[in-house]
């Protein structure tokens, strides 16, 4: 050996046991689905991991009924302190079984083990800890009611989550719902159901009353059945803007409430006085974290004209060190694209970018033969009119644009139907404050990107959705105030 080549450092998958097939989790028990089963595959190898039951409308009906029974019989009547105990217990079990969850998430999703180990699973546990603390303090949250008579739960909540952070999105949904006294029926994404089903085991282990959490697996029709079910009081959805619009149409004119956390095309704005090495890291974290499968990804780099060449040079030099490959290897930075469908979408959009005349670049890297893979890709010479500057690609693809003045940066950043997140890189504090005031995005990161914390509300403006998750603000959608109940 004459070079410092990192030897393979694979995480062991012995810590997880994957069954051949899985049913649904309804009323505290695993029950068979009445629909046909479908496979869930490891996107890094295309190996079939398990057969998953497809919940029919009848199955969804049973799950909603179980949630209603649990809500009216137990959970809705339980004191906040008692609910908090269950949530603390779930949080601790998530920590105890963290490795198991991390390995299973990486196998089913394709994300690098370092990310599932260091980001997804610890944050999921943190969401349960955080909301466990709120459960007996809802009367102090300033969301109606009083300490003596805290605001009431909404009832039965239907939740539909995406495949990019399967366990973490589950935690974002279930933890606040349960803390506020609601019961849930949750549908994980069809390509990544395994950690939700493992979470169902955690609910059993924590002795959570049957029916408080129900998991129904399946694809679009299962989600549709849940969304349209008349027994659901509130819907919470994270996913594409396209599906979000369908859900909003479906609930219009019904008594259901909805919160939607949808797509984004975030601007990551780098000023000429930025700390450049750290800004480059922020660009990398912004778009290549989780293979770019992040709704708030910094997919549009807006860089001040005077430092464009230097930033692009440094970015390319940095990307040459990105390690693409086996997600189970502890030294992998960029894992597999989640599905063949998503890979096709990324390929289509990058072909569009080339056809539109943007200059395409990727570092030299060898991709595995099997599985769904896409090299990190940078487009320079992109303008606002290009589709790759307008449409969400949801992959490891960065579009680079330039600006000259702060006002132009703001105009370009806001020139999108989306409004989920933005990043600002400058050493000038006053400019950060001014930009944060001008940018129409739910989250603005200053000199950092893709930082998440359960105490911080997250959500979009414009077509990126409505409602907030996390923080005090995230409790509101799961509560009815004294005045309105």
């Amino acid at each position: 050996m004459t070079r410092f080549d990192y030897a393979p450092a694979p995480e062991s998958r012995a810590v997880v046991t994957i069954a051949d097939s899985y049913g649904l989790f309804v009323g505290g028990d695993f029950v068979p689905a009445s629909g046909p089963s479908f496979p869930t595959v490891n996107p890094a190898t295309e190996e079939v991991l398990a057969e998953i039951g497809q919940a029919s409308a009848a199955d969804v009906d049973r799950a909603v009924a179980a949630a209603r029974t649990a809500y009216e019989g137990v959970w809705g009547r339980l004191s906040g302190a008692e609910r908090g105990k269950y949530l603390f217990r779930i949080a601790r079990i998530l920590q105890e079984r963290a490795r198991e969850f991390a390995v299973l998430e990486t196998l089913d999703n394709g994300k690098p083990i370092t990310e599932s180990r260091d980001v997804d699973v610890p944050l999921a546990a943190a969401h349960f800890f955080y909301h466990a603390g709120w459960a007996d303090k809802l009367g102090y949250a300033g969301l109606g009611g009083s300490p003596a008579e805290p605001p009431r739960p909404v009832g039965v909540v239907g939740q539909v989550i995406p495949w990019n952070f399967p366990l973490l999105m589950l935690a974002w949904k279930i933890a606040p719902a349960l803390a506020c006294g609601n019961t849930v029926v949750l549908k994980p994404a069809e390509t990544t159901p395994l950690t939700a089903l493992l979470f169902a085991q955690v609910c059993q282990e924590a002795d959570l009353p049957p029916g408080v959490v129900n998991i129904v697996t399946g694809a679009g029709p299962t989600g549709q059945a849940l969304v349209e079910h008349p027994g659901v009081d509130k819907l919470a959805f994270t996913g594409s803007t396209e599906v979000g619009k369908l859900i909003a149409r479906s609930v219009a004119g019904t008594r259901k409430r909805a919160t939607l956390e949808l797509g984004g095309k975030a601007a990551n704005i780098v000023f000429e006085d930025a700390a450049i090495d750290q800004a480059v890291e922020g660009i990398v974290r912004g778009i290549f974290f989780n293979q770019g499968h992040v709704c708030c990804a910094g997919s549009r780099l807006l860089v001040q004209e005077s430092i464009h060449d230097e930033v692009v040079h440094r970015l390319k030099r940095r990307l040459a060190t990105i390690r693409v490959g086996d997600p189970m290897d502890k030294n992998t930075d960029l894992g597999a694209i989640n599905s063949a469908t998503q890979l096709a979408r990324v390929r289509e959009m990058t072909a569009v970018g080339q056809a539109e005349g943007a200059e395409r670049w990727s570092p030299a890297c060898t991709l595995p033969d099997r599985g769904f893979w896409f090299a990190p890709t940078v487009f320079t010479g992109v303008s606002q009119a290009h589709r790759i500057a307008q449409e969400e690609i949801f992959g490891p693809v960065l579009s680079v644009l330039t600006f000259r003045t702060p006002a132009e940066a703001v105009a370009k950043a806001n020139n999108t139907p989306y409004g989920l997140s933005a990043g600002v890189w400058t050493e000038k504090g006053s400019r950060i404050l001014w930009m944060a005031d001008q940018l129409r995005a739910g989250v603005v990161w200053a000199n950092t990107f893709n930082q998440f914390d359960p105490t911080s509300p997250f959500g979009g403006l414009k077509e990126s959705g409505y409602g907030r998750e996390g923080g005090r603000h995230g409790l509101g959608p799961y509560l009815t105030t004294g005045a309105t109940r």
Binding site: M1, R3, F4, D5, Y6, A7, P8, A9, T114, D118, D273, A274, A275, I276, D277, Q278, A279, E281, G282, T321, K330, N331, E427, N447, T448
Partner: protein
């Protein structure tokens, strides 16, 4: 060369100030996050074996105590010549680092081996002496056979903004490193980053030292806490990487003090590999200033070779 690079006919404090303060800032949170990220690299099996041998070959085996004696230095040299008596394939460290008055002792003990003698000079570690004294200190060490001189900058002058003074002192010490035969001892410039306090100051001090002709930039004397840290070394590695792109000249980096375990050393090597690049992964361009590190590297080396920990009694203590 410095004047050309800065595009001025004469160097002055304002000129140097404009240049140094025009460098991009370092975001503390971001720099430390980058270090933490690289710290999760998992170095196993063949990569670990390679890195252990590389780390051993990069050590400046150091003794810098008031109580040092010729006997202690000879004993350290013996250790450098035969790091592990049970395994002759063990590489030797790059240099033995001593006070100037013991350079000749070290030179004699190391004989015609390729191990360098490094000597600290310029009123190490404080640097508080007049220029003639600092230069005499340097010449004395070079005459004693030092291959490398580790000088300290005047941190007081640097922090007060007297950049030209710091620059001139480095240039003068560099001149004093010259030998009569036309060759010169290599100059390592110690920034004493523990006293510079901010990463912005570390970056500026690195550029100032490189501009003045340093062959190596070194973090610390080891006499101030904190000594070498990973984020400080990150900033210095970025500086030498960017300096080579700017000028074509490659400069070495030496973290010193506080690096005691194989695990620490692995983290530094990963950083060198991914920040400065593989070109720096040789003893010519990267060194560890350390005394205790060698023992732990030898233990880990034996463990890799035999599959079992031998225990500290199987590593000689010099």
């Amino acid at each position: 060369m410095a004047r050309d690079l800065l595009g001025v006919s004469r160097l002055s404090d304002p000129v140097l100030r404009r240049w140094l303060h025009g460098l991009p800032g370092v975001d503390q949170v971001g720099a430390e996050a980058r270090v933490a990220g690289l710290g999760t690299r998992s170095i196993k099996t063949t990569a670990k074996a390679f890195a252990i041998d590389l780390a051993i070959s990069m050590i400046d085996l150091t003794t810098l105590e008031g109580a040092d004696t010729p006997g202690k230095v000879r004993s350290l040299c013996a250790k450098a010549l035969v790091p592990d008596p049970t395994d002759p394939t063990t590489p030797r460290p790059a240099a033995v680092c001593v006070y100037g008055d013991l350079a000749a002792t070290a030179r004699k003990a190391l004989g015609d081996s390729l191990i360098h003698v490094a000597a600290v000079a310029t009123a190490f570690p404080s640097g508080r002496a007049s220029m003639p004294v600092k230069l005499a200190d340097t010449r004395d060490a070079v005459e004693g056979g030092a291959d490398e001189i580790d000088m300290v900058i005047d941190r007081g002058a640097f922090l007060a903004g007297r950049y030209l003074q710091v620059f001139d002192e480095i240039v003068a010490v560099k001149a004093a490193c010259a030998r009569p035969d036309g060759t010169a001892a290599h100059l390592k410039v110690i920034l004493e980053t523990g006293e510079l306090a901010t990463y912005d100051a570390v970056r500026r001090a690195s550029y100032l030292a490189m501009l003045a002709g340093a062959d190596f930039i070194k973090t610390s004397t080891g006499k101030i806490a904190p000594a070498a840290t990973l984020p400080v070394t990150l900033v210095m590695l970025e500086a030498v990487r960017d300096w080579r792109e700017l000028t074509g000249t490659q400069i070495g980096v030496k973290p010193a003090g506080g690096i005691r375990t194989t695990k620490d050393a692995m983290k530094y090597l990963v950083m060198v590999n991914e920040i400065a690049g593989p070109d720096w992964l040789t003893p010519d361009w990267f060194r560890f200033g350390a005394s205790g590190l060698l023992g732990d590297l030898l233990l880990q080396r034996q463990k890799l070779a035999t599959g079992a920990y031998s225990g500290p009694d199987y590593v000689t203590i010099d």
